[in-house]
């Protein structure tokens, strides 16, 4: 069936809710309203108010209740609305992440927190704060880049016995439709995907940037450069093997991120490559990401904020690649 990213998320939830009576959805306006940006469209109609629970505007309590219900054996899926609200629930994330370890292995907190982010048609609430969550022990962070992975990763997140932050790029949300397998399937958490194979450089990214990287990589053929695109899919814990294998092969890496540079998760990837692929590296690892300012409002500034093709191109040059642009006819 052809689905958008948002529809694929709903399909994953509907599937898990049908299979497992312990799965339920909670958040602000997830019921009759259909969820922010229609993120839960149709679930209320199918599962009713007992399993699709509208909550007061109290993010700490929403996630807090999910933690408690999860301890008690439920599998709550919270719609946090926006990743911009992550600061409001950091404490709950820290606690949930610690529970299994700190309880000596007795407690489990299998909840999922869905959170929308990213510059896109929905103007605002774009902050990409995911990096904080990668720094919380015991928490997994997942960022699908297409409808199929959205369904497979959300299914896996619901089934995972740990707290999972599931981030949804608003630029992908309703924009592309793709054939998505019927029925339940899992995309394993902790495994990256080679979105495009190549030999000369690895472009490493997640979410909406995967599409941009792929498009860019296509164009690079014209420069005589064969670029591999690595879709991280899981941002914590990282799929170290796939990253290392790819960069060991290509010898060059550019990491594309929508989070600001200092303290951002992309640095973890860069540091991993720097320490693990040292002898394979033919040039410096480059990070392409927004400048360290709050996400600006005007569309023209948003555009200047998110790395564009020009920034990727100069990062490629920064890795020491030479781009032999062919005549315009190409």
């Amino acid at each position: 069936m052809r689905m958008t990213f948002a529809e694929a998320c709903v399909a994953a939830l509907a599937g898990e809710m049908r299979n497992d009576p312990n799965v339920f959805v909670m958040g602000e306006d997830v019921g009759a309203f259909g969820g922010p940006l229609k993120s839960t469209a149709g679930l209320f109609e199918e599962f009713g108010p007992r399993r699709v629970i509208d909550m007061p505007m109290a993010e700490s309590a929403i996630v807090g209740l999910a933690v408690g219900a999860a301890l008690d054996g439920k599998k709550p899926v919270v719609d946090l609305m926006f990743l911009e609200f992550l600061p409001l629930i950091m404490q709950q994330l820290v606690d949930a992440g610690a529970m299994h370890y700190y309880s000596g292995g007795v407690a489990k907190a299998p909840l999922v927190i869905r959170a929308k982010f990213g510059v896109g048609p929905f103007h605002g609430h774009a902050y990409d704060f995911h990096s904080w969550a990668t720094h919380v022990p015991g928490v997994k962070v997942v960022a699908p880049a297409n409808p199929t992975d959205a369904k497979g990763l959300l299914t896996a997140a619901v089934r995972d016995p740990n707290p999972v932050l599931f981030i949804e790029h608003m630029g992908l949300y309703h924009s592309m439709r793709e054939e998505v397998e019927e029925g339940a399937f899992e995309t394993p958490i902790g495994s990256a995907a080679i979105a495009r194979a190549g030999d000369d450089v690895t472009l490493i990214t997640y979410g909406a940037m995967v599409r941009r990287a792929k498009t860019f990589a296509e164009k690079l053929d014209a420069d005589g450069v064969s670029a591999e695109v690595l879709d991280l899919r899981t941002l914590a814990p990282l799929d170290r093997e796939t990253i290392v294998a790819s960069v060991s092969k290509t010898g060059r890496a550019v990491i594309l991120s929508e989070a600001i540079e200092p303290g951002g998760g992309h640095n973890t990837v860069a540091a991993l490559i720097g320490s693990t692929c040292f002898s394979a590296l033919k040039g410096p690892v480059q990070i392409v990401c927004p400048p360290p300012v709050p996400v600006p409002f005007h569309r023209a500034l948003e555009k200047a904020y998110i790395p564009d093709d020009e920034a990727i191109r100069s990062a490629l040059l920064g890795t020491g690649l030479s781009l032999r642009r062919r005549p315009a006819a190409q």
Partner: protein, 316 residues
């Protein structure tokens, strides 16, 4: 208490301003959070502060608050469009964040709630200096569920800060009615923090002003914080192009009949405070003022990429 006629007419003008402003901005931007039905509450809450007072308005109605506090309309609208001529230089949205130039505290991220404490902090500063200023902090019924409200109210109470908390209860938060979002009556929460709380008809601008005047006078006099709950109704959609299929029209229509502007116009005419001709003139001046400012802001140049101005992130 009787009020001077020019003050009463100014209240009318500001309510009418808001209604017209909604229409102009909403026609341009479907995301606009309109104030229809809540004008008496908002105008009543924001009117009459000193330039040196601090105001943290509710996000819905923030440009009205800025305008009342003295902001230039054209720059405000430019700021709502993200133009560099706006107060925020295109970097942020003046629709939810009024200019600090006029001592407004708005949203500096999408999260509702935290500005209540920022307002309390300004009140602490006033108190430390022994100034007789106040801070007014306004929040919605939805926002009332956030822990920020609790922390700001309790802290203001124990420190006896000159702050007035106002809940603009329009009985809904996006699609969530107060019945399922709010346990108990909001104004009664004040008692539990050791401050007075009262509920007021939020569609009666004079009642709102009366309650605000008392609370502000008490705060200025060093008597500490209080809470006023303004009971009104969101006749507007959550945003301008909201299809509102999550609620039934009857209730909305019933509240439309309690329209605060129509109600106040009747009061003005019945009490011979002005003629209907005068009201028409006020409205048409407003139409002209707003559309002129809007057109000017629209014509202002957009930023270019360099206006992102990375260095500006730190104050020097």
């Amino acid at each position: 208490m009787t009020r001077a006629n020019d003050e009463v007419l100014e209240l009318y003008r500001l309510m009418s301003f808001s209604r017209i402003f909604d229409r102009v901005i909403g026609g341009h931007d479907g995301h606009w959070h309109g104030l229809e039905g809540e004008e008496a509450a908002a105008v009543g809450a924001y009117f009459g502060l000193r330039a040196t007072d601090v105001l943290a308005p509710h996000y819905r109605g923030s440009p009205l608050a800025s305008y009342i506090k003295g902001a230039d309309l054209r720059r405000l609208i430019a700021g709502m469009m993200g133009k560099p001529t706006g107060y925020n230089k295109g970097k942020h949205r003046n629709d939810v964040c009024g200019p600090w130039d006029f001592r407004l505290i708005g949203l500096y991220s999408g999260s509702l709630g935290p500005p209540l404490s920022y307002a309390a902090g300004a009140a602490l500063s006033m108190k430390l200096d022994g100034r007789d200023n106040v801070a007014v902090a306004v929040f919605g019924d939805g926002t009332s569920s956030r822990g920020d409200v609790h922390e700001a109210m309790n802290t203001s109470s124990v420190l006896k800060l000159p702050i007035v908390f106002v809940c603009q209860n329009n009985q809904i938060a996006i699609s969530t009615p107060t019945q399922t979002g709010v346990g108990g009556e909001i104004y009664r929460r004040a008692e539990g923090f050791g401050m007075t709380g009262r509920a007021v008809d939020g569609n009666d601008v004079l009642a709102v002003r009366g309650a605000m005047d008392e609370a502000i006078a008490a705060a200025r006099a060093g008597k500490g914080p209080s809470l006023i709950e303004l009971r009104t109704f969101r006749v507007a959609g959550h945003f301008y192009s909201d299809t509102e299929d999550y609620r039934d029209r009857e209730t909305v229509d019933a509240w439309r009949r309690k329209d605060p502007i129509a109600q106040f116009s009747r009061y003005l005419l019945e009490n011979d405070i002005c003629t209907s001709q005068e009201l028409v003139e006020i409205d048409s001046r407003l139409e002209a003022e707003i559309s002129e400012a809007f057109q000017a802001a629209l014509a202002d140049p957009p930023p270019d990429g360099r206006d992102i101005d990375v260095e500006a992130v730190y104050a020097k």
